[in-house]
C-alpha cells in the first residue's frame, strides 16, 4: 500500500457505486488513483442495498410461485421459509460479486486504502496519520438510513433496512414507516414470506415519486396481496412492548406489530468529514454541485447519494464516470436525470423513465398518453400478472415518459430508456414489431397505438 504520499491524479473518498465507478474509469484513462474506503468496496448497494434486497425479492418470488404453482399444474407443497438458508443464498451472491469487484479494482492498479478518511483541504485527504494529496478529490461517502425527529431506531423492534437485511426470522407482523422504494420492497418480501404488513405513508400514495397511475396500480395489487397501507397520514409515535411495537398515527389510529421498519429515506454522510472547512458548500447534509458534479472548490467533486440527485446505484455509476471523464478532459455530456430509469423490484414491479403526465403538462407540453393493459399481452397472461404500460408523448412528437407496473417489467425499462433519451417518437418504434410473445410487446403495442396504428388494442 502506498504510504500517504502522492500526489495522485484523483483521491476518491468512499468506495461505493459512485466512488468505485469513478476510480475504475479514471484508472482506465491512465490516471493514478487512490480509493479510500472505511468498510468494504461496493458500499451500500452491494452490501446493504440493491443486491441483498433483490436476492430477498427473488426468494420471495420463489415462495409465491411455490405456493401458487398448482394453478399452473405443478404439484408442490410450500413448507415455509428457511431464514438461515435465505441469508446464506443472499450472502453467497454478495460475496461472489464482492470478490469480482475487489479483483477488478486490483487489476486496474488502483491503490485501495482501508480506513476512514477526512477532507483536510481542497486537495488533501487524511486517513489516520496518512495524508493523500490529489490534483482532484472526489467525495463519495454515500448515505445511511434516516429517521424522524425523536424516533429512535433501536435495531431490535424498531429497525432500519440495515437491520432488516440480517433479521434472523420472518416477523409475524410488521409496520413499515414510509411507502417509498425501500419500504415497498420490504413490504413485498415480508408478505411473500408470510408476514402481516402495513405501510404508513404521509403522502397520498405509495411510491410518491412515480406517476400517479403507477402508484394506484401498485396499491391495487398490494391490496389484492393483503398488504395493508395507511396513506396520507403521519406517524406520531411508537411504543415498544414485550411482544413488539404499538404505533400511533396523527389521526389517532393505533397499529401493533412485532416489528417496525423505518424507511423514511436516507441521509448523506457528510458531517464531521471536513467538507465545509475545506470550502465545500453543504446544504442539509448534501454537497452542492454543478452539472459536472463539481463543488465550488476547484478540483473537488462529489457524486452519488452524497449529492441531491436520485439515490440510485446507476446514478452513482454515471456520476463517477462523468467525473473521471471530466477530469481527463474528455468533455462528457451532463446527465439528463429525467432519463435515468427507476425500478421498484416489488411484486408487481414498478418501472419508469422520463417524466410523468403531470410534470409533462406542467412543462407546457401538449401531451398525449396511452395505457396498454397487460391483460392484452400474451406473455403477461402466461405469467398471470396484471398491470399496464403507459406512454406519455408530445402530440406528434417524442416520447416523454414510460410508466409500467407488472411482474418483471423492470427489464423492459432498458428499451424505454433508449426511446426516451434518444428522443424517439412512437412512430420510430412502431415501425419495428416486437418479438412475440414477450412482455416487451406491451410497450410496442402502446407505441403502435400512439402512432395511429394499434394492433392488439382492446377498447
Amino acid at each position: 500500500m502506498a504510504d500517504g504520499s502522492g500526489p495522485y491524479d484523483i483521491v476518491v473518498l468512499g468506495g461505493g457505486s459512485g466512488g468505485y465507478a469513478c476510480a475504475l474509469r479514471a484508472a482506465e484513462l491512465g490516471m493514478n488513483v487512490v480509493l479510500i474506503e472505511k468498510d468494504k468496496v461496493g458500499g451500500t448497494c452491494l452490501h446493504r442495498g440493491c443486491i441483498p434486497t433483490k436476492a430477498l425479492l427473488h426468494a420471495a418470488e420463489l415462495a409465491d410461485q411455490t405456493r401458487e404453482s398448482e394453478a399452473f399444474g405443478v404439484r408442490a407443497r410450500f413448507d415455509g421459509i428457511d431464514v438461515p438458508a435465505v441469508h446464506s443464498y443472499k450472502d453467497k451472491v454478495i460475496s461472489g460479486l464482492y470478490k469480482g469487484l475487489a479483483g477488478l479494482i486490483k487489476s486496474k492498479k488502483i491503490t485501495v486504502v482501508e480506513g476512514e478518511g477526512r477532507l483536510a483541504g481542497p486537495n488533501r485527504v487524511v486517513v489516520g496519520d496518512q495524508v493523500f494529496e490529489g490534483r482532484n478529490v472526489v467525495l463519495a461517502t454515500g448515505s445511511v438510513p434516516k429517521s424522524l425527529p425523536g424516533l429512535e431506531i433501536d435495531g431490535d423492534k424498531v429497525v432500519s433496512s440495515d437491520h432488516a437485511l440480517v433479521l434472523d426470522r420472518v416477523p409475524s407482523s410488521v409496520i413499515i414507516l414510509g411507502g417509498g422504494v425501500i419500504g415497498v420492497e420490504f413490504a413485498s418480501v415480508w408478505r411473500s414470506f408470510g408476514a402481516e404488513v402495513t405501510i404508513v405513508e404521509a403522502l397520498p400514495h405509495l411510491l410518491p415519486l412515480e406517476d400517479e397511475s403507477n402508484s394506484k396500480l401498485l396499491e391495487r395489487a398490494f391490496r389484492r396481496r393483503g398488504i395493508k397501507y395507511e396513506l396520507g397520514v403521519r406517524f406520531e409515535s411508537v411504543k415498544t412492548t414485550d411482544t413488539g411495537v404499538v404505533v400511533t398515527l396523527e389521526n389517532g389510529k393505533t397499529l401493533d406489530a412485532e416489528l417496525m421498519l423505518v424507511a423514511v429515506g436516507r441521509g448523506p454522510v457528510s458531517a464531521g468529514l471536513g467538507f465545509e472547512e475545506a470550502g465545500v458548500t453543504v446544504d442539509r447534509g448534501y454537497v452542492k454541485v454543478d452539472e459536472y458534479c463539481q463543488t465550488g472548490v476547484p478540483g473537488v467533486y462529489a457524486v452519488g447519494d452524497l449529492i441531491p440527485t436520485l439515490q440510485l446505484a446507476h446514478v452513482g455509476f454515471a456520476e463517477g464516470i462523468l467525473v473521471a471523464e471530466h477530469i481527463a478532459g474528455l468533455n462528457p455530456v451532463p446527465i439528463d436525470y429525467d432519463g435515468v430509469p427507476r425500478i421498484t423490484y416489488s411484486e408487481p414491479e414498478v418501472a419508469s423513465v422520463g417524466v410523468s403526465t403531470a410534470v409533462a403538462r406542467e412543462r407546457g407540453h401538449d401531451v398525449v398518453e396511452l395505457s396498454y393493459n397487460l391483460a392484452g399481452n400474451g406473455k403477461s397472461k402466461i405469467l398471470q400478472t396484471q398491470g399496464e404500460v403507459k406512454v406519455v408523448a408530445e402530440r406528434d412528437g417524442r416520447v416523454l415518459g414510460v410508466h409500467m407496473v407488472g411482474s418483471r417489467v423492470g427489464e423492459l425499462v432498458a428499451e424505454a430508456q433508449l426511446i426516451y433519451n434518444w428522443e424517439a417518437t412512437p412512430g420510430d418504434v412502431a415501425q419495428l414489431i416486437h418479438p412475440h410473445p414477450t412482455q416487451s410487446e406491451a410497450l410496442g403495442e402502446a407505441m403502435l397505438a400512439l402512432a395511429g396504428k394499434p394492433l392488439h388494442v382492446h377498447n
Binding site: E423, T425, P426
Partner: protein, 58 residues
C-alpha cells in the same frame, strides 16, 4: 384516416441525440442518407463546418 407517426426531421433517433449533444440544429442539415435522411456523418460534418452554425459572438 389515421396517419403513421411522421417525424419532421428524417434522422434515426440516435442521430437526433448526437445532434443535440453536439448542438447541431437538424433543420439546418441537409441529409445525404436514404430518402434524404440525415446521417451521423452529416451531423459531424455540420459541426466541422462552422458556416452551418449560426454566428455567435464570443
Amino acid at each position: 384516416p389515421p396517419q403513421v407517426g411522421r417525424v419532421s426531421v428524417l434522422a434515426k433517433p440516435p442521430v437526433r441525440k448526437l445532434a443535440k449533444d453536439l448542438g447541431v440544429d437538424l433543420s439546418t442539415v441537409a441529409g445525404t442518407g436514404p430518402q434524404g435522411s440525415i446521417t451521423r456523418e452529416d451531423v459531424q460534418a455540420a459541426v466541422a463546418a462552422p458556416a452551418a452554425v449560426p454566428y455567435q459572438a464570443a
